[in-house]
Amino acid sequence: MTSRRQFLKSLAAASAGIALYNIPKAALAQHGIQKLTILHTNDIHCHIDPFSPTDPTYAGRGGLARLSGLIQQIRLQEENVLLLDSGDMFQGTPYFNYYKGELILKVMSEIGYEASTIGNHEFDNGLDALNKALDHTKFPFINSNYDFSQTKLYDRFNRYVVYRKNGIKIGIYGLGVELQGLVSDDNYEGTIYNDPVIVAREMETYLKQDKKCDLVICLSHLGYQYENDKISDLTLAPQTKYTDLILGGHTHTFLDKPVEVKNADGNRVIINQVGWGGMVLGRLDFYFDTAGKEMTLAYTEQILNQG
């Protein structure tokens, strides 16, 4: 037991100050069905408090303060919870004007977010400001299709992250929207945008085939759907082969429930997006068949890879 504790400690230290969450109570082998609960948000836009009671459209709804209450309730009930976000947590309330990205990232770290991708609004105050804000996050930012190697942010993002939850292995990659025309040129200077479809194919193959992940998740800030032929979650999904779930953002789309489409092999891809401002919490429960399998790795682990 001591050695395991030591190991966890060193792992925590090795993962550059990123906290380990949800270490399960039972560290013993289990048989049968294992449940994974994925909770997710997108386009929080610095909404920490609920919308003002006088708001004509959204009075009393949304905000992370109340969403956090909901998340903590679910955490008490479920053993394997993964909390994710699809970007654009910056910009939208005076919290951003006064505290830049710092406060919202502190708040999301406090709530225990485990990963996010980057949205276009994270560039609003430029790369230096983003760099500074990222000092305040305790969870990794995942992006696979922006090349930051020519910028000061070259070591700030993970191309992918692999999590283990009670033996379930989850691979996550991230896709960002084309910045040109959306963000002032000098606010993302040097950042190269790579084709999301090519990158998605590369990342999902790596995570499923090489890393042997049980579930591959794409955190996307591409947007749900467009009238023109701009790449979106709905046009990406049919071109993928190993992505199981696309958690989207950017278009502020309120889906009543996740949408299921077919990938290039005719298998299911689930797409979800939950509006904005913390007005909805997306919840997806996956049940895995673990029969006959020794679940030796019964703790939460984060393997971080600098891309």
Partner: protein, 251 residues
């Protein structure tokens, strides 16, 4: 240390020979976040209270006194005229200081960009945030007269807008006459216009602004610029008292 390496070795062996788990079942629910469903996380609330207190204090600062209620209406209104006048004034100051010949003669402030009315009496920073929640920046464009006519047509279609430095007569949704500096706009001449980056990038159906021949991004947040302007007037003891002047008429 050896123990750690040993454990890592075991893990890699285990994970390399492990086959993938299959999803046997899947359930999903998008849960609305409002008071009947969830309660506020009190520890999170404690965490943000110092930040909120600081912001509230700043938001309560009075930056102007208005003698009248400024309500937004079409074709023109006290609010749209007043705000567009400030934009033109500040755009001219910027142009005079920074770009020798980029002094705008007209301003365009999209009606939809103003999100509330301003009350009679004290106006706070918080109210200005409500009025302009967006992070738009002031930009100055050089446009051909023909594109200004396209702008005027769009204003006519919309039935009015926030403008300064121009006189526009609309009849039956069409432009009847269109003047800048008390002269009819010449299609071949070029004009400097100050506006925000949102419409300059074609937002609110203002795609004619994309035809500009020059573009100056001031990097000044519009809201900051308005707050500074209001504060200066307030400190000088001025009271807001705009009047309608018939800059846009719609028969």
């Amino acid at each position: 240390m050896y123990r750690i390496i040993y454990l890592i070795a075991i893990i890699s062996v285990l994970s390399s020979c492990k086959t993938r788990l299959n999803v046997t079942d899947f359930k999903a629910e998008n849960i609305p976040n409002y008071q009947n469903i969830s309660t506020i996380d009190s520890s999170l609330l404690n965490f943000i209270t110092p930040y909120t207190t600081e912001i509230d204090r700043e938001m309560q600062e009075v930056v102007a006194i208005s003698g009248v209620e400024l309500v937004k209406k079409k074709p023109e209104s006290l609010l749209t005229n007043y705000m567009a006048d400030i934009l033109l004034y500040e755009g001219q100051i910027y142009g005079a200081k920074h770009q020798a010949r980029s002094i705008p003669s007209i301003a365009y402030l999209n009606y939809g960009g103003l999100r509330t009315d301003l009350p009679k009496g004290k106006i706070t920073v918080g109210k200005i945030y409500e009025l302009m929640p967006f992070e738009n920046e002031m930009v100055i464009l050089r446009l051909k007269g023909s594109d200004l006519y396209a702008m005027a047509d769009m204003i006519a279609t919309k039935g009015g807008d926030g403008v300064a430095g121009m006189k526009l007569k609309i009849k039956d949704g069409q432009v009847e006459s269109f003047q800048v500096d008390n002269k009819p706009v010449s299609r071949d001449k070029e004009y400097w216009l100050v506006t925000n980056d949102y419409v300059a990038n074609g937002g609110d159906n203002m795609s004619m602004f994309l035809n500009r021949t020059m573009f100056i991004n001031t990097g000044i947040k519009l809201r900051d610029c308005f707050i500074e302007h209001l504060k200066r007037d307030y400190d000088a003891g001025k009271i807001i008292s705009p009047k309608l002047d018939g800059r846009i008429t719609n028969d």
